[in-house]
Amino acid sequence: MDVKTNASRRKGGADERVSGGEAAQSRRELLAGLYYQLWRVRHFEDSVARLNKQGKILGGVYSGRGQEAIVVGTVFGLRRDDMIAPVHRDIGAFLVKGMSARLVMAQIMARESAPSRGKDSWTHTGDIEIGIIGSTSMLASSMPIAVGAGLAARMQGMDSVVVSFFGEGSTARGDFHEALNFAGIHKAPCVWVCENNQYAYSTPTHLESPVPFYKRGEAYGMPSLAIDGNDVLTVYETTMQAVERARRGEGGTVIECVTYRMEGHSEADQATYRDRAEVEEWRKKDPILRLRSHMLANGFTEEELPEPAPSIIDEVRDAIDWATRSPLPDGRQAVEDIYDESAGVTHWASPYPNYVRIPWLGR
């Protein structure tokens, strides 16, 4: 697989490629592909952070820095007809699943050309054609929706799988429970990826749950496990097994990916509530560094592992240029895109019959 192809196939519209994992023929290609995507996500997000510092972005920016192995490892191997339900920390998942960097950047910059046409920002949009189910801000609320999408695929005779993402803090919400219970009963083809980055905003894990997060999955009769979320190969292999299990109709799996949020909750948060030492400890576990060492020890040369590849730099620069040049929406579009009046109505009303007085209502 030419790892650059992903980027070069990208355009303003939806990305046509099948996802990387499907096309990866060999272990070598897989590693190269994962490495490429990790950098792609990292570089994209870092660029967004920079734009944000320059005041070019208005909304909340939630960096997934340090957690890229999760979105890359889970999404890389999915089929186009598989679906993902990413949340605020997962802008990278949009890229890996095949939304072009241009569109994602336009979305962040609230441009008219963005998938939400500027209606909302960040991950609050999606593209159902390439299997991206966006989220609202309401944490965990996309989880029952993921179940519905998965069950619908099954009703439609497809074996598509939905990967639903959520922060560890979001497991406290009722919707987490209702969704997983529903999914467990109906063996919905959904894989549940918990991104345990140790904090929910400022709140440390011991104030979010009395048990390790993966443990919760057992309450829904699903295989549940915690893995090293900074090791992209582990993430890839574990989630692919879970995806195949779901595809076979055997139901979901809860995978807690243990990681760390390297930045503040949002770019506005200084995260003074945590130890500098803790952050430094985790910096050493950086997922890109880890994969890189592994690859260097396994036959790759320094030249094969650019940081990042020029094509990525080009792709992101192009995305920024394109998005920046794209106009903001016209104000009047605020009242568009609310209703779909192209109803699937096939018959129209026959005339209303003479009104029949109903005898029971005397007084």
Binding site: P144, A149, A152, M155, N181, H186, D340, Y352, I358, R363
Partner: protein, 326 residues
């Protein structure tokens, strides 16, 4: 033509749409083997199987959420709330997820789904089996809100709702379920959303109403004929989008308007309609816009309390007389 109850009409609508379109399915608590708490889906489990008639756990938020997920993936789910009162437990999914999806996708996505269930009081249901909560939803763009008053409309509006590409909140007044019997056509028909119905024509006074109150208002209109008062009764049928044209035309003709609804007076949807009249029909109004509604309380259980709580035919008649004389 055949005779059906209000409930039977709803059942027919769902059954016929499920037969017509394989993307239509139902989900909710006890809707399967049992056929639903009110037996709306009676027999469907046998006919359509467990895949299309899904008995859910007690999870209103998941019921709505699963319906949304299925809808954006191309299905046409019909989610039943065992009582509409429990919609409060799935509230976020409706107002923040279902209602906003299309907007957030810049128009590139539809959410064709119906959330339906029994609503309203006058059945000794108490605080949590009697609520009229349509006004929580009429303020949310992206939703449609429907509330039929006749069996014919119940069937036609529900079919239109199922075929509509937007999330529709469909309130069925449970007082009408078995008390209403009507003769309706055998053929497939729909009643378009967004069109009010003149339930009774008149020239002296317009009553705007919906749901079970339509019957009260028609009874009142009959009684008022004895006073030689000629009342026009508008049954809104769809609350959102609102058929302003029909309302305004009527009031411009009669110059007197009264709004009758079952929810508590304060904050009910009647306020919105009165506001529209006060702004857009001001020149035509010869008298105050009167609202007859329930008192500002919860729906109480004990019969004397519920009787006092609910607006009744006498209230309507008396208010109409006063209004006509104004």
């Amino acid at each position: 033509m055949h005779e059906v109850t209000f409930l039977g009409a709803i059942r027919e609508a769902i059954g016929e749409e499920m037969r017509r379109d394989p993307s239509v399915f139902v989900l909710g608590e006890d809707v399967g083997v049992y056929g639903g708490a009110f037996k709306v889906t009676d027999g469907f489990y046998k006919e359509f199987g467990a895949q299309r008639v899904i008995d859910t756990p007690i999870s209103e938020s998941a019921i709505v959420g699963v319906a949304i997920g299925a809808a954006i993936k191309g299905m046409r789910p019909i989610a039943e709330m065992q009582f509409m009162d429990f919609i409060s437990c799935g509230f976020d999914q409706i107002v923040n997820e279902a209602a906003t999806y299309r907007y957030r996708y810049g128009g590139n996505l539809s959410v064709p789904m119906v959330v339906r269930g029994p609503s309203g009081g006058n059945v000794h249901g108490g605080l949590f089996h009697s609520q009229s909560r349509e006004a929580w939803f009429t303020q949310v763009a992206g939703l449609k809100v429907v509330m039929p008053a006749t069996a014919y409309d119940a069937k036609g509006l529900l079919k239109a709702s199922i075929r509509d590409n937007n999330p529709v909140i469909f309130f069925e007044h449970k007082y009408l379920y078995r008390r209403v019997k009507e003769t309706i056509p055998d053929d497939d028909y729909i009643v378009p959303l967004g069109k009010a119905r003149i339930a009774s024509e008149g020239t002296d006074l317009t009553i705007i109403t919906w749901g079970a109150m339509v019957q009260h208002c028609l009874s009142a209109a009959e009684l008022l004929e004895e006073d030689a008062l000629n009342v026009e009764v508008i049954d809104l049928r769809t609350l959102l989008p609102l058929d302003k044209t029909t309302i305004l035309e009527s009031v411009k003709k009669t110059n007197r308007a009264m709004i009758v609804y079952e929810a508590p007076r304060t904050g009910g949807y009647g306020g919105e309609i009165a506001a529209i009249l006060a702004e857009e029909a001001f020149e035509y109004l010869d008298a105050p816009v009167v609202r007859v509604a329930s008192v500002d309380a919860h729906v109480p259980f004990s019969p004397p309390l519920e009787k006092y709580y609910l607006p009744n035919v006498t209230d309507i008649v008396e208010s109409a007389r006063k209004l006509a004389k104004y």
